[in-house]
């Protein structure tokens, strides 16, 4: 059991209003940067730089409305089964995957940015992906004759499994963190900055040795107002001494560690980001700010000197059981599509589009059938991967048969995934250069085809 989504925040109007309010309420006056010491990391040109960006949709995105078949008989099946949740056919944004034998699909109407990237071959769609222990058929599901992930349909557990690729135990580490433990030299300068989170704590970036997600404020606020880490005044001295004192009590030391890391953040990131500016305009949304900060950090990569980095971003509010599902999902997917389009443009501006790959994840999909208002927790769902190194314009995996109680259904239109999270991670991991460590990072990968083939 792990991690609801502490740092994540919904993209609702309300929350934006709240953030604006807060921004007006109290300003931060950063410290004079001139007093800070130099970066210890030797600035080096990272010729072989690669980054993964995990965009997590907390709450369980309804993938059934992210990707809809347009072929008339399949669309009719969709429309009949989804009743009040069916999107009108004419509103869907058509895409023609190069590998779907001419079958057309429609993206959610708010995802124009993704549609455009797909058309340019810079985005691929993953059909019916989810958590699995082994490849699983409907008859195996019905008979419970194969191992299944623990606590399917539970938010906290499925979030943890999407982030950890561990489906049969309470996971303590994530697959991003485990990969980075093996990719970064143990003595690499700034090693901790290999796993950066714009969205608070997450499991994906926690390693199995020493790495733990380093949190970065999407707004770029890093500094303590009241404390100069190199100051000699009595207050600064007292604080420095307080934080330097080793505590025997584990929770006390944990507190000191976090505060110490935040001061380290202030020192390293403020300098690294000092001249990191972008011409690309990002939408003024929560996710837009997160992805803008990721792009700025990519721009500042040589100052941190790491050749591999993982970034975690999130957006919440996808648990759409209620009758506001269509409106809410429209808002959220629009926020995603616009922010991701800007992010891709920023990587182009930086000349790094082939070195940065963004991919989406979520707790689970949602029931194909309506509960009369919205939809309930389900299993497999559709996702996207974006970047210049992605073999875009294709549909990866098999689109499920949308027959309720049909061959892909675990009940009520809960699609049994055709592709596992391990396969997504391993395909990305191979591109990332972690090929030899993949079986260690993904303990169940041996059960699956390890390369989905969507990366160059």
């Amino acid at each position: 059991m792990n991690h609801p989504h502490p740092g994540s925040s919904g993209g609702t109007q309300l929350q934006r209003r709240r953030l604006l309010k807060l921004a007006g309420a109290a300003g931060l006056s950063g410290l004079g940067l001139g007093t800070l010491s130099h970066l210890t990391a030797a600035a080096q040109s990272a010729t072989d730089y690669k980054a993964l960006v995990y965009l997590f949709m907390y709450g369980g995105n309804d993938g059934n409305n992210l990707l809809v078949p347009l072929e008339p008989s399949l669309y009719n099946q969709y429309q009949q089964a989804r009743s009040n949740l069916a999107l009108p056919r004419e509103a869907l944004l058509p895409i023609a995957p190069g590998n779907s034998a001419g079958l057309q699909y429609g993206l959610h109407p708010a995802m124009g940015g993704i549609q455009s990237l797909f058309g340019q071959g810079k985005a691929a769609l993953l059909a019916n992906i989810g958590t699995l222990a082994v490849p699983t058929s409907r008859s195996q599901w019905n008979a419970r004759s194969v191992p299944l992930p623990d606590n399917l349909f539970s938010h906290s557990d499925q979030q943890a499994q999407w982030q950890s690729a561990i489906v049969d135990d309470a996971p303590r580490s994530g697959w991003g963190g485990r990969m980075m433990e093996r990719l970064l030299a143990t003595d690499a300068a700034n090693r901790g900055y290999g796993v950066l989170s714009m969205a608070g704590g997450n499991l994906w970036e926690n390693g199995d040795r020493s790495l733990a997600a380093y949190k970065v404020s999407a707004s770029g606020n890093f500094g303590f107002d009241f404390y100069d880490p190199v100051g000699r005044d009595p207050l600064s001295t007292a604080i420095t001494e307080t934080l330097a004192e080793r505590r025997e009590h584990l929770l006390e030391q944990a507190w000191n560690d976090v505060v110490g890391r935040s001061i380290e953040n202030q020192r390293v990131l403020t300098q690294a980001l000092e001249r990191s500016t972008l011409a690309t305009v990002f939408p003024d949304t929560n996710l837009g700010s997160q992805l803008r900060m990721v792009a700025r950090l990519v721009a500042a990569r040589s100052r941190l000197g790491l050749q591999r980095q993982c970034f975690f971003c999130s957006i919440g509010g996808f648990d759409t059981h209620g009758d506001d599902q269509l409106q809410r999902q429209n808002e959220l997917l629009g926020e995603i599509s616009n922010a991701v389009a800007a992010f891709y443009a920023a990587t182009v501006e930086l000349g790094m589009q082939n070195n940065v790959t963004l991919f989406s994840g979520s707790d689970f999909g949602r029931t194909f059938q309506s509960n009369g208002q919205g939809s309930d927790h389900a299993w497999g769902s559709h996702h996207f991967v974006v970047g210049g190194a992605v073999k875009g314009g294709q549909l990866v995996g098999r689109f499920p048969d949308l027959t309720v109680n049909g061959p892909d259904d675990a009940g009520d239109g809960k699609w049994i995934p055709g592709v596992s999270v391990d396969q997504l991670g391993a395909t990305l991991g191979r591109w990332f250069g972690a090929g030899s460590a993949l079986n260690e990072v993904f303990p169940r990968l041996v059960n699956f085809d390890a390369d989905l083939g969507f990366m160059v």
């Binding site: 991690h3 609801p4 502490p6 740092g7 609702t12 309300l14 709240r18 309010k21 807060l22 921004a23 109290a26 931060l28 907390y58 709450g59 089964a81 009743s83 938010h155 906290s156 303590r172 608070g200 704590g201 926690n206 970065v216 404020s217 606020n221 890093f222 303590f224 009241f226 009595p234 001295t237 007292a238 604080i239 307080t242 934080l243 004192e245 505590r247 009590h249 584990l250 929770l251 944990a254 507190w255 560690d257 976090v258 505060v259 953040n265 919440g316 648990d319 059981h321 209620g322 009758d323 059938q369 309506s370 509960n371 009369g372 208002q373 919205g374 309930d376 927790h377 309720v404 009940g411």
Partner: protein, 591 residues
């Protein structure tokens, strides 16, 4: 059917004393609710709570327990620790001394019998501030802080807050109406020392929860439309509000099956069964005789948010319902009967004691209670000594008077991080914060950039701000320990929250205009020419007389290094000491 008392009064009493020319009957209704509160177990000024068999519940006899003789008084440190665990902090050293004289049993008895502050009453009183005389969400937040900062019902407020972090509602998606939130908090206050079964039922039927987790307007299956009852509430009431995902032993440890794996408490069939059992409920204003009204209801009608939901038999799943274990409800029961039966099944599951007891211990005392401590609390949850299961008053008393709560364990893991909002309340109370209007302007504290990363009624989801099972990566996780509050303690949030405290201290208050809570640091400044005396007072008010010797030496040395010859310099000394306190691990971690 046994309607919750507040709601019953709400419906039964006529609107009283309407203000502003007799408009707005909702005002009167809520006022009636306020008046009714003291008559129905919300306090009652000394009226003893009794069991169905007439015996008296623990801590609630007609007569308060006697004060201890002088020799048996708790120590200063233990009294201060009790205030840290069970209230929002001492307001003065007199508070601590009064508790010593009174003794814990008598203090608890008095707290159990102190009436609750009414949150809807606050909205009634404040709504005229709004240009359309509507209550606002900000008013709902202010009411929380009003109770925390000024209420005499401190233990009730603290237990309600703890319960509200289990049975979570939040104004973050979807938006909740102010009366929905405040009425929900009144409901938690009313049940804080009541019975967990009543609480579960009141939570289930409260329109705020109905709206938040979509039980409201959930209908029976419609195969033609491919529609099934909404599973949201059914799933979370099991996973989060009562029993959790896996079977537990009475000491909170996970039971293992013959395959060595945890035993799930329920599966999809049970979720569907509960979803059916809970189908057919909507706003109280709707008429069951007119099925077309089921999906409607006026969201602008305040009483719709303060009155329990109403059942439409025509919208209720008629089939048999598979529930927990071997229980199946027969087909054809009324929605009311199915609901009562379903609540009984949940409430009587053996997991409820350890599942809820552990979390209440974590919210009040320590993040990692021993198995024996959990088992002692479970035993009282299961039977309060008078044959009653689920008696929260006895559970709270047991948690706070347990040896593990009263005698801080030595060692390296006892205690918990004080939640950020509780630290903030502690500062405002200890520093005598007051506004000229008598109310506050404390609203949104959830920003991690410049707030506390936590704010009442603004959790990111029903999973609350943090999980009871969160493990902080590093030494804490390696030791197998939980540290729930550390889930919102990040490199970014500590910057935001420590700046927040520094701003509070430097600015001398929080809020604006007449509602600005102004700190009164004069009593501390009066001590500030003597560093030792100032540090001793801070030790009492903030550290519960548990300041570590290194912190004491550092603070004293810092103060001595600062000039203290005039008022301004003495104020600076106080501010510096309060800032170092905010960052000191021996303050942040209560033990």
């Amino acid at each position: 059917m046994d309607q919750p008392c507040l709601f019953e009064s709400n419906l039964a009493l006529p609107a009283q004393r309407p203000r502003n020319g007799g408009r707005a009957s909702a005002t009167g209704l809520a006022l009636a609710a306020l008046l009714a509160l003291s008559a129905c177990g919300g306090g009652g000024g000394g009226a003893p709570a009794t069991n169905p068999d007439g015996s008296t519940l623990a801590g609630s006899g007609n007569e308060p327990p006697a004060q201890p003789v002088v020799a048996n008084r708790p120590s200063q440190q233990d009294a201060a620790r009790m205030l840290i665990q069970a209230t929002f902090g001492a307001t003065s050293v007199d508070d601590i001394e009064a508790l010593r004289v009174e003794g814990f049993e008598r203090w608890l008895w008095n707290q159990f019998n102190t009436p609750a502050m009414s949150h809807t009453g606050y909205l009634d009183a404040q709504r005229s501030r709004n240009e359309k005389s509507r209550a606002t969400e900000e008013m709902s937040y202010e009411a929380v802080w009003q109770q925390w900062l000024t209420g005499p019902d401190q233990l009730r407020a603290r237990v309600s807050f703890a319960l509200g972090q289990i049975v979570v509602i939040s104004n973050v998606a979807p938006d909740l109406r102010p009366y929905a939130m405040s009425s929900y908090l009144d409901m938690l206050n009313r049940n804080a020392f009541g019975n967990y079964r009543t609480l579960l039922k009141d939570v289930t039927l409260h329109p705020a929860m109905g709206y938040y987790l979509n039980m409201m307007k959930s209908e029976k299956d419609d195969p033609a439309q491919g529609i099934h009852p909404n599973e949201n509430y059914a799933r979370e009431v099991l996973q989060l509000f009562s029993i959790g995902l896996v079977e537990l032993n009475p000491d909170g440890s996970v039971k293992l099956g013959s395959d060595g794996k945890p035993i799930p408490t329920y599966g999809e069939a049970e979720v569907k069964g509960f979803a059916k059992a809970f189908s057919g409920w909507t706003f109280a204003s709707q008429d069951p005789a007119r099925p077309s009204q089921f999906q409607k209801g006026d969201e602008n009608l305040d009483s719709n948010w303060t009155t329990p939901m109403r059942a439409f038999a025509s919208k209720h799943s008629p089939e048999a319902k598979k529930l927990l274990g071997s229980t199946t409800l027969p087909a054809g029961q009324t929605p009311e009967k199915d609901l009562e039966d379903a609540i009984d099944v949940i409430f009587n599951h053996p997991n409820v004691g350890p599942f809820i007891g552990r979390q209440l211990i974590q919210r009040l005392v320590t993040s990692n209670p021993s198995r024996a401590y959990i088992a002692r609390v479970t035993a009282v949850f299961n039977n309060n000594g008078a044959g009653v299961r689920g008696d929260l008053k006895s559970v709270v008393q047991t948690i706070l008077l347990d040896p593990e709560a009263r005698v801080p364990a030595t060692g390296s893991s006892y205690g918990k991080q004080r939640e950020p909002v509780i630290r903030f309340a502690n500062y405002l109370r200890a520093l005598g914060a007051r506004s000229s209007s008598g109310i506050n302007a404390i609203h949104y504290l959830d920003s991690t950039d410049d707030g506390l990363g936590q704010s009442p009624l603004l959790a990111p989801s029903v999973f609350n701000f943090f999980s009871p099972n969160y493990r902080q990566p590093g030494a804490v996780a390696r030791a197998g320990l939980y540290a729930p509050e550390f889930q919102i303690t990040t490199e970014t949030s500590v910057v935001g929250s420590l700046n927040f405290f520094a701003n509070l201290i430097h600015n001398g208050g929080y809020g604006w205009d007449d509602n600005r809570m102004v700190l009164n640091t004069k009593p501390l400044e009066a001590l500030a020419s003597d560093p030792g005396a100032l540090v001793a007072r801070i030790d009492a008010l903030f550290f519960g007389y548990q300041m570590g010797s290194s912190t004491r030496e550092r603070l004293t040395r810092m103060l001595a290094a600062m000039p203290g010859g005039n008022d301004y310099q003495r104020k600076e000394r106080v501010q510096a000491a309060l800032i170092v306190t905010a960052i000191s691990p021996d303050y942040v971690i209560q033990k």
